[in-house]
């Protein structure tokens, strides 16, 4: 049984149909890559899976229960957005401690310290977020998404702003989460970073799957095929 399943997801904004009957099933311990051109509906799909946006039609089910009908299930989802979800005037430690309190983690300060340590920012944990570089903010945002050890991770462009070392560290973190049977959905424009740990890959164009298959071994061959399907 899939950990997270969405069926017949549609979403319109006014007259614009952003998603047109998308299905997705995320199995435990697998990572699904989602690629697609700008405006394909990738971020909207991720927000619907996270329960932040209501679909116009379709249903999202986590472990057999509807996300909308069981709000407690939100605690099992980790979400990394385009935006950091952080308060600029607070430090990474304060931001993560606040997040830990929202998720009712015992010893929230200790959990925040550990999460910051996991992304290698211990030496900057007491600086206000506004003084951190773009890449550092992204690392804090990743720590925030992981702090409650979610069973489903939804990541929107997680490698943005990361240097090669930090990107490699993120792949290590994701591999560790996958080993604990966490399901991951990762939206990206540059699939190379996470290609080796992906199980499936999908190409979303104009709100519909154009490709949805097991991850092939050859990235270059896939990208040539995908670029042909991007459309104009």
């Amino acid at each position: 049984m899939p950990l997270l399943a969405a069926t017949g997801i549609e979403r319109s904004f006014g007259s614009a149909r952003v998603l047109r009957g998308v299905d997705i099933a995320v199995e435990p311990g697998t990572l699904q890559l989602i690629l697609g051109p700008n405006g394909a509906g990738k971020t909207t799909l991720l927000r619907i899976l996270a329960g932040l946006t209501r679909p116009s039609a379709g249903r999202v089910v986590l472990d057999g229960s509807s996300l909308r009908e069981s709000p407690a299930l939100r605690g099992r989802i980790g979400f990394l957005s385009h935006q950091s979800l952080l308060y600029d005037d607070l430090t990474p430690l304060e931001n993560l401690e606040f997040a830990a309190r929202l998720y009712e983690i015992a010893a929230p300060r200790e959990a925040a310290r550990k999460a910051i340590e996991s992304v290698g920012l211990t030496d900057r944990m007491n600086d206000p977020v506004r003084r951190l570089s773009r890449g550092m903010v992204q690392r804090v945002a990743i720590a925030r998404a992981l702090i409650h050890e979610p069973s489903v991770l939804l990541l929107d462009e997680p490698f943005t702003g990361l240097d090669p070392r930090a990107a490699a560290r993120l792949v290590e973190l994701l591999s560790a989460r996958l080993a604990t049977h966490c399901g991951v959905v990762l939206v990206t424009h540059s699939p190379a970073d996470a290609w080796s740990i992906a199980s499936r890959v999908g190409l979303l164009v104009r709100g519909k799957w154009v490709i949805d298959e097991a991850r092939p071994a050859d990235l270059q061959a896939f990208m040539s095929r995908a670029s042909g399907a991007f459309g104009d």
């Binding site: 329960g51 932040l52 939100r74 950091s84 979800l85 952080l86 308060y87 929202l102």
Partner: protein, 226 residues
């Protein structure tokens, strides 16, 4: 219930911490209140209406508009970096978000009022005398209700393109009853009448508080969910 309170306090504590760091809303609101009182003080005609007749209205209009600056900030800070999404993603009940924002706004408005009151006494040369306890009681009653309404409308306005412009337009009509009652009671207290004589106005404030606190807590979850 304990969960609601714990989460609410966590949100209020976070808002107070952000405000202590940024000093955005509170400093602006206090400076605004001081400036309004200075302007009214110099603009009024000493030979015209008596100070004691004008002062209660000026006091409450000043507190109301200064409070609006803090209401605007309450959800504007959640808009930066989409921090509100971070809260909505958690399993925390939506009511806790209302409670947290309400408590933080209450603290900000109480601070603005506590600073405005002595400035008002100073600029308008009003003798509070024995009116102070009654004035504090009416302030508590008036603020409790209008902060609830302000919290709801700031959550509503922040989703619009011109939140700072929309908030006063949406909010002011709903603030007429508590401001009117507060002005009437303040006016009588400053004239040396006892608080117990103002039972009718105090009842209006009490009913407003109960009705709007209940309504606000009920509709807030629907406002923050898409």
């Amino acid at each position: 219930m304990i969960d609601l309170l714990r989460h609410g306090l966590a949100i209020a504590a976070k808002d107070l911490r952000v405000e202590l760091r940024s000093r955005t809303a509170l400093v602006t609101a206090i400076a605004f209140a001081a400036l309004v009182l200075v302007i009214f003080n110099f603009a009024r005609d000493p030979a015209g209406a008596r100070t004691i007749d004008l002062a209660p209205s000026i006091l409450w209009v000043t507190i109301t508009f200064a409070s609006m600056l803090t209401f605007n900030r309450a959800f504007a800070l959640e808009k930066e970096n989409a921090a509100l999404d971070g809260i909505l993603l958690s399993p925390m009940p939506r009511g806790a978000l209302f409670l947290g924002k309400y408590l933080a706004n209450l603290a900000f408005v109480a601070t603005v009022t506590a600073i405005t009151l002595p400035l008002f006494v100073l600029f308008f040369n009003v003798s509070l005398g024995g009116a102070l306890p009654g004035l504090l009681a009416v302030a508590v009653l008036a603020i409790a209700g209008f902060v609830a309404v302000g919290t709801v409308f700031s959550a509503m306005a922040v989703r619009t393109r011109f939140a700072e412009l929309m908030l006063p337009v949406l909010l002011l009509p709903f603030l007429v009853p508590p401001i009117m009652a507060a002005v009437q009671v303040t006016s009588r207290l400053l004239a040396g009448r006892p608080l117990l004589e103002q039972a009718a106005w105090l009842k209006i404030l009490g009913v407003y508080d109960v009705v709007f606190l209940t309504l606000s807590a009920m509709i807030f979850p629907a406002l923050v969910d898409e």
